[in-house]
Symmetry: C2
Subunit: 232 residues, 2 copies
Amino acid sequence: MIGAMTAQTSPHDAPDVSGLSIAILGGTGDQGRGLARRFALAGHDVILGSRSAQRAQDAADGLGADLPVRGLANADAAAAADVVIAAVPWDGHRDLLASLREVLAGKIVVDCVNPLGFDKQGAYALPVEEGSAAQQAAAVLPDSRVVAAFHHVSAVVLLDPEVAEVDLDVLVLGDDRAAADTVRALAARIPGVRGIFGGRLRNAHQVEALTANLISVNRRYKTHAGIRITHV
Amino acid sequence: MIGAMTAQTSPHDAPDVSGLSIAILGGTGDQGRGLARRFALAGHDVILGSRSAQRAQDAADGLGADLPVRGLANADAAAAADVVIAAVPWDGHRDLLASLREVLAGKIVVDCVNPLGFDKQGAYALPVEEGSAAQQAAAVLPDSRVVAAFHHVSAVVLLDPEVAEVDLDVLVLGDDRAAADTVRALAARIPGVRGIFGGRLRNAHQVEALTANLISVNRRYKTHAGIRITHV
């Protein structure tokens, strides 16, 4: 009976992603560098993308010569990797992705962009014509497998060499189940992190926007808040 | 120095709410009954409200004769309590609250309503003209102190006598800081639960809508998911 049980599938089952290379568009920002550092520590080849290949390489060098991270122009980074993470500013998100439509065709594109505005009362969610940044990505990249994830990672925590395990669940959303499962597995490559399937892209807006609430938590409690999903 | 430290305030500080009575509008539903049960177990006088006083009393009786819960018509329940929780269906939310504007004047009104639609692909967030159910409540109750909270509680878990501690953080949102602190303290009356300040009412939409994602989690993992805020 125990042998039979091991053959069952679990909603936690995930593919082996250990050999995948990862490009991070907008990779010179804090979030991009933080993710790059953690994926490189997990053994992935990571390519930072930026408008300037030189700035991308400088950012890669800044993460430490011992880590397998290099820098290229965004289009070259996207072409070189198995999975592409979009960690670009919301301003320019649509145009950058649209410019990469051909090179991103067939690839898993992970959107982790939070469309937020800021005023003296803090952060708030911006309206998005397509519903969410992830749905905008899916609209301008019809030939890519768009997944939404990594919205709530704290760049400060990811970049902190004192933090060995990251206390966070990454909600992974997508209409392509196999692509979402791949991204769940990638999230779990960061020690302490679980990738939890959180629904279809039509429910991405509130996951992106929840970052505004976490910023409110950070202000009130002077911390770098994340979320865990209980009972999973 | 230790004596001096005890005089400092902490973002976790909260008022003593042990003597507050609580009305739950729409209290015959699963979420209302679940909250009623937990607050009554914590020693609060609880009044279930419903359109029919008889159905409210029947629901109160169903929670057990040993618990301090009674049932009244919605307006009478609202008048009788210190704090009023709106756990009504989204359909009719605006009209019910507007009809109670005078009796709710000056009171803390806790909105825990999630405007969701359902189709064969699951749950999704409904658009709300005012931005969120909580903002709608604030618009129709200008003389009340509206707070948003308790969106992600699982009625199944709250009603389960086997569950002594509930593994959940309740995000509490409001523009009236003192009212939000009172509701944070009320959340913490449920064993296991923390009340975490999660921002202003303008950021309530995504907290309400996140319930759709938790429903997706529930489907995928066959569970009753909640959330915890890490690093707080």
